[in-house]
């Protein structure tokens, strides 16, 4: 019940890219400095994000990274999965009904709760896009956030 710094950093970095979306590529160094993250470490996170097709790279001088899709098409869940693999709360929930689920499932009264919890988490993560975050609001579902909508709105606005 603690999100790794991979996730924290990754999401913050992606927000940075989302805010720069439409302009040119952004260098890792720049994002790292703005967010106070180790540059070399962030480099590795970006590699993972690129491998999953969430961001695109431009090599060489003046290069950097850009979002591979519109901010509205990238869900936080996608970022988390890219950085940590499938969201599986415990081994008993071998995500995807495929294989190797717990042999105790039939008799385990806890199992339905883990399923519910995992679904809850996944649904929150997948109902929020980068667009939602930089706009200050959250995803769709009934359940809305605390409600402190800061009035400082970022500049960018893009129509692909």
């Amino acid at each position: 019940m603690k999100l790794s710094s991979r996730t924290e950093y990754g999401v913050r970095a992606m927000i940075e890219l989302a805010e720069a979306h439409g302009g040119g590529p952004v260098a890792v160094r720049e994002v790292a400095e703005k967010q106070g993250i180790s540059e070399k470490y962030l480099e590795q996170l970006f590699a993972a994000l690129r491998k999953e097709g969430l961001i695109a790279s431009q090599r060489g001088a003046q290069g950097g990274y850009t979002l591979a899709k519109a901010p509205g098409d990238i869900r936080v869940g996608d970022i988390v999965r890219a950085l940590e693999g499938p969201i599986a709360l415990c081994d008993c929930l071998a995500n995807g009904e495929d294989d190797a689920v717990c042999h105790r499932m039939g008799e385990c009264a806890a199992h339905p709760l883990w399923v519910k919890l995992q679904d809850g988490i996944t649904s929150i993560l997948d109902s929020t896009t980068l667009q939602d975050m930089i706009a200050g609001a959250s995803g769709d579902s009934a359940n809305d956030m605390g409600g402190n909508s800061e009035e400082e709105s970022r500049d960018e606005q893009d129509l692909p």
Copy 2:
């Protein structure tokens, strides 16, 4: 995004106690064997659960543990907190509004999401009691579980 075996084991063990509620104390060994958990390890989990007042112990021969309250009064969230400390998804969420929250909060577009996620998790965990679990159903909220209600009902039934 992975629950520790402390949590998994702890909850399963508490379910075991809940099912035995009303009868005499249950020894650690018995729970450990039924659930396939290391006895000595479980012993430590029980120590933590007792310290938090969720279970009570009876020392000496024929001793063991019993729930300290009715199964309906023990929420899964209580168990998790007893075993892992306050549920805080990240340091930026120094649970309880007290101190040392992130200095980046004002400018951090991710923060509201973490709050939302943490609230979601907490609310699921706190809306499910041991009673709910051994009865096969989940907590209150609109969102209900998969719905596979096994017909094997355990024996115990108690009115305190």
